[in-house]
Symmetry: C2
Subunit: 168 residues, 2 copies
DNA sequence: TTAATTTGTTAGACTTATTTAACAAATTTA
DNA sequence: TAAATTTGTTAAATAAGTCTAACAAATTAA
């Protein structure tokens, strides 16, 4: 864990770290060119970013060399990716957002949500993933029906409970 | 509805419009000073922003006069506020985020979420607000319990259903 | 109705992130 | 290995949004 908690990085700089980490996973080494292509910016912009991130101790980059994340840089990249993943999951699996739109949204929101929101959203997805019986929750199916039709359907379970009460 | 759909405003400019609209609701007239105080920037910054927003046809501002939103400006302000409101609602009522943190998060996310995410989130909140019997959904109570204790509790309804099946 | 205070404006500077253009190093290929 | 190509670097320019500082207009108080 890094000593300095808050590097106060901009969305842009977080993006550089995130993408560098992603590239490293694929290719083992990361060059200016790769980052430039992935982010859709010119290599001179990448250079400027790397300079700034170097000064903050988040990347290592020698002239004409490969780009490496420091452990602090890796830590931040990991956090951003985690935020990205949970947001994408929520948007696609719960809200049924189209994949491409969900991706766009997650790529922006990943830089803004608080630790608390990340934590609670994570717990929400854990909660939804399966109930104690290992089933997807009924309410989510009902919500998807509501999205499709605009109509709320009666909760079967609740209906059962009501029936039981009536029988008493 | 404005003819020009996409004014491609920055978060900052959207914030100016949003806050101008909020101030107008309270005070009927809006001055540079009010905006400056609310956003925590110097009045020279407000001036620069108003100039830029004027050029885009979103505000009207004569030297030393009051600040007014045009109908296009109002429309954008309304959209931003709507996004803000639904996000805040979701964060506080579903995820149980602390009010202050939720506010911070909503104030950032309101500038980034897509139309689709806004729509779906709105529907989600409509869905959750009440079921057909006018009750808050059981699953939300169970989620709050999960947040508190870290333990999933058995869904009573599902239990009932299971019992019924066994009886058959 | 002057003087003091508040509010608004302008010009110029700074920061962040980008670009283009020129050039330099590294790599490929002939 | 020399030439061609790709990749990386630097300097200078641009744009957005902010600030400070100096000043101007409007308002309030004496």
């Amino acid at each position: 864990m890094s000593i300095i908690e808050n590097k106060n990085l901009s969305s842009n700089m977080e993006d550089y770290l995130e993408k560098i980490a992603a590239l490293k996973k694929e290719n083992d080494v990361v060059r200016v060119r790769d980052i430039s292509q992935l982010l859709g910016v010119k290599s001179s912009s990448v250079n400027a970013a790397l300079k700034s991130l170097s000064k903050k101790g988040l990347v290592e980059h020698e002239k004409y060399g490969y780009v490496k994340l420091t452990s602090d840089g890796e830590e931040i990249a990991y956090k951003v990716q985690s935020r990205h993943d949970i947001l994408l999951k929520f948007l696609t699996k719960i809200l049924s957002i189209d994949d491409d739109v969900a991706l766009q949204d997650a790529c922006k929101m990943e830089h803004t949500i608080s630790k608390q929101t990340f934590t609670k959203l994570t717990k929400f997805m854990q909660f939804v993933e399966t109930d104690l019986d290992g089933n997807k929750p009924e309410w989510l199916k009902r919500f998807k029906h509501y999205l499709k039709t605009g109509r709320k359907i009666r909760c079967k379970m609740r209906k059962l409970a009501t029936e039981k009460n009536n029988r008493r």
